[in-house]
Symmetry: C2
Subunit: 310 residues, 2 copies
Amino acid sequence: MRVAALAGGVGGAKLAHGLAQRLPPTDLTIIVNSADDFEHLGLRISPDLDTVCYTLAGMANPRTGWGRANETWNTMSALEQLGAPGWFRLGDKDIATHLRRTLLLNQGERLSSVVKEFCSAWGIHHSVLPMTDERVATIVETDEGELAFQEYFVHRQCLPRVKGFRLEGIDSALPAPQVIDAINGAEFIILCPSNPWVSIAPILAVEGIRAALARRKVVAVSPIIGGRALRGPAAKMYAELGIEPSAVAVAGHYRDLCAGFVLDVSDANLEQAVSDMGMQTLVTRTIMRSSADRGKLAAGVLGFLQDKLT
Amino acid sequence: MRVAALAGGVGGAKLAHGLAQRLPPTDLTIIVNSADDFEHLGLRISPDLDTVCYTLAGMANPRTGWGRANETWNTMSALEQLGAPGWFRLGDKDIATHLRRTLLLNQGERLSSVVKEFCSAWGIHHSVLPMTDERVATIVETDEGELAFQEYFVHRQCLPRVKGFRLEGIDSALPAPQVIDAINGAEFIILCPSNPWVSIAPILAVEGIRAALARRKVVAVSPIIGGRALRGPAAKMYAELGIEPSAVAVAGHYRDLCAGFVLDVSDANLEQAVSDMGMQTLVTRTIMRSSADRGKLAAGVLGFLQDKLT
């Protein structure tokens, strides 16, 4: 049962980890958003790729949802003493990731090959691919003007009202090597519970990816539960864009792409509405508090695919 | 009593600190070798400038002679896990210095202006100037071929036999702003007890510096005591270049430049030989174990200048 999963940050990383618990490395490829990558303090930073890799390697900080566990902050403190901005917190071990990536990219290596080296060093056996090796940057159009994604997300804590999104560089971005092959070779595609606007949409916007997905059986897991996102601004974005935030809104978002949709038990009352859009549905516990929860949700989704989409 | 001091690493930094204890900021400029600067792990590293600044700020690691006190090593360990070479040890706080410098230099700032910003952030009130803002690199010619300085010094631990030195980029290197003014404005120049071959020689080789020094009263403090260098390869270099390492050899090295020479008490028997070269001599304790020792040596040298060279 070969699967390709599309993922952004924390929620996506957790389900990706669950899938990695249930599928052998040959049968799972995780395709990760790289449109929130940015350059900061002279470092090339790939937040979603790092969250996915740190989570798969068991190195993620469970408290913050970003960065590594058991961190120290000595470089950051010394940087601030030298006048560097401190709003994007980088731990000492995390900085090693960015320093090494910056060096390798500056030497001409592709992002996908850097990720491969990191996975190998961190003992990650499943394939993790950035959506593209080119630089793409999510720009958030807000009532305060355009903001680079991390500026909006971290520095401004998602406070400005969202009016839309723009993906800088998307027109010349090609899928990273093996992305299209992984999709074509998969029986099923899983859209992890990541932000539809800023995590999944950029992946879908890379040339050829949506077309490849259209030929496969795709299931999405709702990142909106009870009208709220567990983490991050997805619900706020729906509301500000004039759409009532709910699992139904997400299902509507993906209706052209998905044959199946997974809702949380707390949204069981919405199952009919999703079903009416022509999608198979699974209602299950989608909140992943523990590592075991991740494996359980993955197993549930895989069983659903097998039972309802074959 | 205005002084300009030329310095390289540890010994030079210690005397510079002693001078800073005895002279107000208006009366002391420290001109530092930057020919051992190099790029490593994607970072622009200035070992002598950092040693001087860390020492002046009271942040130097007293045990190692490089890097900062109370360091942690988490970035370095994580870098090594990712395949980065580990022979040049960078502490977490120290990395902040290099990261910030790399960013500012890449943004087009001059090295001298970066050093000025760092001094201000670290509470250093005396002027610290790199010899030049241009990139100059000491290449050590050895029996194993040419080695970049840090490769020879740190990676190979000074083991290859030295045949000579080459200063890459020296022909197009201009003195950093204020270097020539500081020399011209000083009554006295002090060559700190730094390696004559790889710390002081590069400073002297920058266009215009030797000529400016020739018009001033210059005193050197011997870095060779009892035929040995307290730290580093100076004595080994003299021997490999066919010169018996001693304070006399150092005095011979500087005889065209210096009107005064300072020897350690343990080399009192060499005073006559130095004096015979036509230099005023001071025999005093030159080993600086404590911060107070630094101030004492500085006071001794300043008194000697006042008494014998005016």
